[in-house]
Amino acid sequence: MKRLLVFLIVALFGIFSTQSFAKDQILIGFTTSLTGKLNAESKAQLQGIQLWVNNVNKNGGIYVKSMGKKLPVALKYYDDESNKERVQQLYVRLINNDHVDFLISPYSSDLTATAAIIAQQYGKIMISTGAAADDIFAKGFSVVYQMYTPASRYLTGALDMLKKYDPKAKKVAIIYEQSEFAKAVCDAAKDYAQKHGFNVVMFEAYTPNTTDFSAFLNKMASLKPDALIGGGHFADGETLAKQVYEQKMSLKLISLIVAPAVPKFKEIGEAALYVTAPSQWEPEATYSPENAKKLKLAYYGPSVKWFADAYRNTYKQEPGYHAAGGFASALVLQKAIEETGTLDSNKIKQALDRMNIMTFYGQIKFAQGKYHGLQIGHEMVYLQWVKQNGQISKEVVWPLAAANTKLVFPYNIKFKK
C-alpha cells in the first residue's frame, strides 16, 4: 500500500513539470473556433490577427524601449470548438502554461464573456474582438477592452432606415438567436423601436443551432410585419435568410446581424439579394488621417486601402469586419506597447485606458468607470447585397453620409420580377 502511494506521488511529479525560458518574443494568446458553429467568423478574425503578425515581424517586431530591442511577436492559439468550458480551460492554460503576455478574446460574445472571467481572475489584459454585448462590460472587469461597437447600437440604424424609406411602415418582427450578443442587440432594438413609434408584432428567440425556421416564418406570415430584424451568428442567419426567400415572405426590409456581413453570405445566391446588415467595418469605409485631423485625433497604423489590399493578396478573399476587428485588436496592443515601451500589464493598461485614436478600422476609445472597457469611439455602417451587372455584391447604404449607393427598397420587390 505504501508502495502504491509512493508510486502515485512519483507519477504525479513525472507527469507535470514546467519549464521557463528567456524573453525573446511577445506572445499573444487566444482561442479560436476552428471547428463548431462559429467557424466561419472565427477564421476571418484569426486571419486578421495573422496578417498583423506577418506585417509586424516583416519589420523586425515591435520596439520595446525597456529592453532596448525589437521583439518579434508570436501567436499561441487553440481550437475552442465553439465550446465555453473548453474556452475557460484553454485560457487558464494560455496564462499559466504558455505564459502569454497578452490575450485576445475568442470570437462571439458568449465565449468572450467566459474567457474574460479567466483573464480577470489572473489579471491578464485581454482585447476583445468579435464580441459586441454590452453587459460583459458591466461585470466589473478592469483588464478587458472591447473593439466592437456594442450591441445596444447595432440594429437601431435599421429602424431609422425603415422610417426614412417608408414612414408608414410600423410593424416589425424581431427574431433572434438565444445568445448573449443577439439578445443584447435585439433587446436594445426592441426598446428603440417602441420608443420611436414602431409596433413590435413578434419578438421571439430561437435556440442556437436552429435549422428549421418554418414554424417561426409561418407564425410571422400571419402577423404581416413590414420588416424583419434580428439574427444571431453566421450559420443560423444564413439559413433564416434562405428560408425567408423560399417562403417568399412579403417584407419591406430585412436586416440581420452578422451573417449578411460575412462575404461567404453571397453563396446562397438570390436569397441574399436585398438583405441588409449592420457592419463594424467595410472596405469602402473612409477613415483616413485627414478624417482624423478633422476630429482632432491621432491616426495610427496602416490605411484602409493597405489593409484591404494586403488581406486580399494574402488570403484571396474579401476582407470583412471580423478580419478588420482581429487586425485592429492586435494593433491596439502594438500601440500601447510602443507608447509605454514595456510589456508590463499595469502600464499597458494605463495606456489603453487613455487611448483615443483613429485607425483604418475607425475611432477607438474605451469607457472608464462603471462600464470600464466598453467601446465608445467606434460606429456602425449598414450594407446591402445588390445585383450589379449580374454580379451579387455588397454596398454601404447607411448612414446616408457614408453610403456609396442607394438602398434597394422594398425587399419583396424581387418576388415581383
Binding site: 500500500m1 502504491l4 502511494l5 502515485l8 506521488i9 504525479l12 507535470f16 514546467t18 465555453k84 468550458e85 475557460q88 480551460q89 487558464v92 492554460r93 499559466n96 502554461n97 458568449d110 464573456a113 467566459t114 472571467i117 480577470q120 481572475q121 489572473y122 453587459d135 460583459i136 458591466a138 461585470k139 466589473g140 472587469f141 438565444q178 445568445s179 448573449e180 439578445k183 428567440a205 435556440t207 442556437p208
Partner: protein, 320 residues
C-alpha cells in the same frame, strides 16, 4: 458485511492527490487535479444508484446542473455565501431527486435510462426559457463577488479546497453506505427487486434514498464548479455527454466498487488528457475513446476492479 481495507489506501492516496498541487503551488496542476476530483465525485456518486442499486441513470448530470444553478443563483441574486449556497444546492437537488424518484424509479432497465435522458433534456430546455436564470446564455457573476473571498485568485484556491473536501467526503459516504444495512438493501434491490420486497426491504424508499444521495454530491460539485467558472449556462450544466462520461468512468473502474469508480474516474481523465495531446490521435480522440469503450464493454464488462479481483482474489478486500 465485514469491513475491508479499501479506505486505508484510497483515502491517503486521495489526500496526497489533493495536497500535491497545494504544496508545489502549481496552478496548472491544480486545474488538472480539480477536474480529476470533479470526475471522481461524479463517478463515486453515480455508482450509488448505478452500481449499488442497478439503475442506469443516463441523465444523471441533471442533478449536477440543478445544484449548480441553485447555488449560483443564490450567490448571484442574493449574495448568499459560497458554502451555504452549495450545501443548499445539494439539498435541493437531493430533494428533487427523491421526489422524482418516487415516479421514475418505478421504470426499469433501458426505459428508465431513456426517461432520465428525458428529464435532463426537459430541465435543460426549461431553463433555456427562464429569463431570470439568463435563458440559454446563462448567468455571469459580477466580478466583485470574488472580493468577499479575498480576490479571484484566492477564490479559485478556495473552490479547489472545497472540491477536494467534497471528493473525500463522497468517497467516505459511498464506502460506509456500501458497508451498511442500507447498502445491503440496495445491493439486494440491484440483484432482484421483487425478491427484495418479499424479504422485507422498503424498495421504493431505499431506491429513492439512494437516488437522492447520488444526486447530493454532484449537485454540490456543480455549485463549486460554477462558482469557480464565474458563469453558468444550460448547455454546459446539463451536458448529456458528461452524463455518459460518468457512466463510462464507473464501468471502466468496476460497477459497484467504490475504489473502482474512483480509479475509473482517474484513468478516464488520464486517458482523455493523453489522447488530447497525442499527435495524430489528437483529432481522433473521440473515435479512440469510443474504441476503448467498445473493447471494455465487449471484453471486460466488469471493469478494472472486476478484472483484478477475478485473477487476484485477495485484492477483493482492498478494492471494495
Amino acid at each position: 458485511m465485514q469491513k475491508g481495507y479499501t479506505l486505508f489506501w484510497l483515502l491517503p492516496a486521495l489526500i496526497a492527490l489533493v495536497i500535491y498541487p497545494i504544496v508545489t503551488n502549481n496552478v496548472m496542476l491544480r486545474e488538472t487535479v480539480f477536474l480529476i476530483l470533479l470526475s471522481i465525485t461524479l463517478s463515486i456518486s453515480l455508482n450509488i444508484i448505478l452500481g449499488f442499486t442497478g439503475y442506469v441513470s443516463f441523465g444523471h448530470i441533471v442533478y449536477y446542473g440543478i445544484g449548480a444553478y441553485f447555488a449560483f443563483y443564490l450567490m448571484y441574486a442574493y449574495k448568499v455565501s459560497l458554502i451555504v449556497s452549495i450545501v443548499l444546492g445539494g439539498l435541493v437537488s437531493a430533494a428533487i431527486a427523491f421526489v422524482l424518484g418516487q415516479a421514475v424509479l418505478s421504470l426499469r432497465g433501458a426505459i428508465f435510462a431513456i426517461a432520465t435522458i428525458g428529464v435532463n433534456e426537459a430541465v435543460k430546455s426549461l431553463i433555456n426559457n427562464i429569463s431570470i436564470l439568463g435563458g440559454a446564455m446563462g448567468l455571469y457573476f459580477d466580478f466583485s463577488i470574488y472580493d468577499n473571498y479575498g480576490g479571484a485568485l484566492k477564490a479559485i484556491w478556495l473552490s479547489y479546497y472545497l472540491m477536494g473536501t467534497l471528493t473525500i467526503l463522497s468517497v467516505i459516504a459511498a464506502y460506509y453506505i456500501k458497508k451498511s444495512k442500507f447498502g445491503l438493501g440496495l445491493f439486494s434491490i440491484r440483484e432482484d427487486q421483487d425478491a427484495s420486497a418479499v424479504l422485507g426491504i422498503k424498495t421504493k424508499l431505499y431506491k429513492s434514498l439512494a437516488y437522492a444521495t447520488s444526486a447530493f454530491f454532484p449537485a454540490i460539485a456543480g455549485g463549486i464548479f460554477a462558482f469557480k467558472a464565474g458563469n453558468i449556462e444550460p448547455s454546459g450544466a446539463f451536458n448529456l455527454v458528461k452524463s455518459i462520461e460518468m457512466i463510462v468512468m464507473v464501468m471502466l473502474g468496476g460497477y459497484g466498487s467504490v475504489a473502482g469508480s474512483a480509479l475509473g474516474a482517474l484513468f478516464y481523465e488520464k486517458i482523455k488528457s493523453i489522447l488530447l495531446v497525442m499527435p495524430y490521435v489528437k483529432d481522433l480522440h473521440l473515435a479512440v475513446s469510443g474504441l476503448i469503450l467498445l473493447i471494455i464493454v465487449q471484453f471486460a464488462p466488469s471493469g478494472i476492479v472486476g478484472f483484478l479481483t477475478k485473477y487476484f482474489k485477495n485484492l477483493r478486500k482492498v478494492l471494495e
